[in-house]
Subunit: 251 residues, 2 copies
DNA sequence: TGACATTCTTAGCCAATCCTAATAATGTTG
DNA sequence: CAACATTATTAGGATTGGCTAAGAATGTCA
């Protein structure tokens, strides 16, 4: 029953992993002191946590050395950060909470969200962003869509939304198919079709890149490759050759 | 720094208070065993928690005796349960989560929600229930309304909503003012006006009964007095003489 | 390079929250 | 009412996650 032996993470250990991720992102590697400062604890507490995390193989750690995440640690960090960001986005973009409070709130809640609620929250946020309806009729429809797992009604809804968005957006590529590679940073689109079926599209499907999914371009590298996108709260980096196979519709 | 001495409550102690509240509601008083069973802990853990809660004056406790909440404990219980219910309602009514998972999720999160986020969540849920719009325009409006503290735009929105609801609801008291006392259980309304200003209306205002607030009738006693209502997640019991001074509009 | 400052680890402590096992009180029933 | 069953308490232990204080390792600079 010794938690030290298992892969399990407590809320507090997740906080350490998250902190290490950000420090490593910013500075290449983390020192105990950086972690202590970021989390507001004493260095001795950090040492203890690092020893546990090292035993669980989430961090590369040796006494008096700098700390980095193992690949497992990185996986965990990404999972935690995704939770955090989805919550924060919900607080900021939907509830209109100030970003500082939203950030704090996301920190407190990120470790405790049951998966089905988390997933549904993402769907809900996407629904809000793509469906031009409201009121009881609207939430009912959302709920029905989620429960029945057939997106029929909502596809109509999304398409309608896309149409009206297109009207607003005058004369931009209305005649030919556009792909994910055509989007500019900050633009969003709804996936209409995945042109090829192979291991790459399968991996993308696992991450949420499926028909009907809302996808947002975050950054595009100088030559249009790679393209960083956000889908269902995941941050993905796609090759341009993958992106051109994803037919989308602006929205 | 000993928490035993202060009024402060840990998440776990809040769980005990909540459990005691429900058991007392159902059976008049709680025994250690009931609490242990409800929370899935051993009786010895319950004894420990009860001793701490008794020291903090949240429960009436003596060894080998039944347990009840003090008035302070009751206050706390209500606060916690309100958190719980608002979260659960959000999960069920907005996200469409199954009630068992929603219940579990509310339990996990109820102790950690920052107040501003909690308050805004309630506003958001009310907005969804009263405003017949959707899409970005719609959430933008919601956020603007919350931020600017002037409900102008949304009042229009609410009135419009009320109008369309009224159309659906044929020939019911469309010509004269209706008050909270006219609503049937399960009916909802939006507060249009508070007819008197006195200490009672002030207390109601503190609980969220103000112009524009969504109010729902839960139960009405045989002679129409008292009336149990829900506002902003609070459960209130109003005298009929108070209710007739609250002018509302069905919605 | 040696002295001093900073950083990190170790060791030991405390509080919260659970546990088990033993014991005490209370309830039930032939 | 005595024996047995149930329930509650106490005592003692584990785990988690923080702390302080002392000392070891590392870094800096005259």
């Amino acid at each position: 029953m010794d938690i030290t032996e298992s892969r399990q993470l407590t809320a507090s250990l997740e906080d350490y992993i998250e902190a290490i991720f950000w420090i490593v992102s910013a500075k290449g590697a983390a020192r105990a002191r950086d972690i202590a400062k970021r989390l507001g604890v004493k260095a001795s507490s950090v040492t203890g946590a690092l020893q546990v995390l090292a035993k669980k193989k989430y961090v590369n750690y040796a006494p008096y050395e700098v700390v980095t995440l193992t690949s497992e640690g990185l996986e965990e960090a990404k999972r935690i950060i995704r939770m955090h960001e989805v919550l924060r986005d919900f607080f900021v973009n939907v509830l209109g909470i100030k970003s500082k409070i939203a950030e704090e709130g996301a920190c407190k809640l990120e470790h405790n969200i049951p998966k089905p609620i988390f997933d549904r929250l993402i769907e809900f946020m996407e629904f809000i962003e793509t469906c031009p309806r409201a009121g009881k009729y609207w939430t009912d429809k959302f709920i029905k869509q989620c429960n029945l797992k057939k997106a029929r009604e909502c596809e109509k809804c999304i398409e309608q939304s896309i149409k009206s968005f297109k009207k607003e957006r005058t004369m931009t590529q209305t005649s030919r198919e556009i792909t994910l590679a055509d989007l500019m940073p900050k633009e969003k689109g709804v996936v209409l079709k995945m042109n090829r079926r192979n291991s790459v599209t399968k991996r993308l499907a696992d991450m949420g890149v499926v028909r009907g999914a809302l996808i947002e371009v975050e950054r595009v590298a100088p030559l249009g490759d790679p393209i960083d996108v956000k889908v269902k709260g995941y941050h993905l980096s796609l090759r341009k050759e993958e992106a051109v196979n994803i037919i989308i519709s602006r929205g």
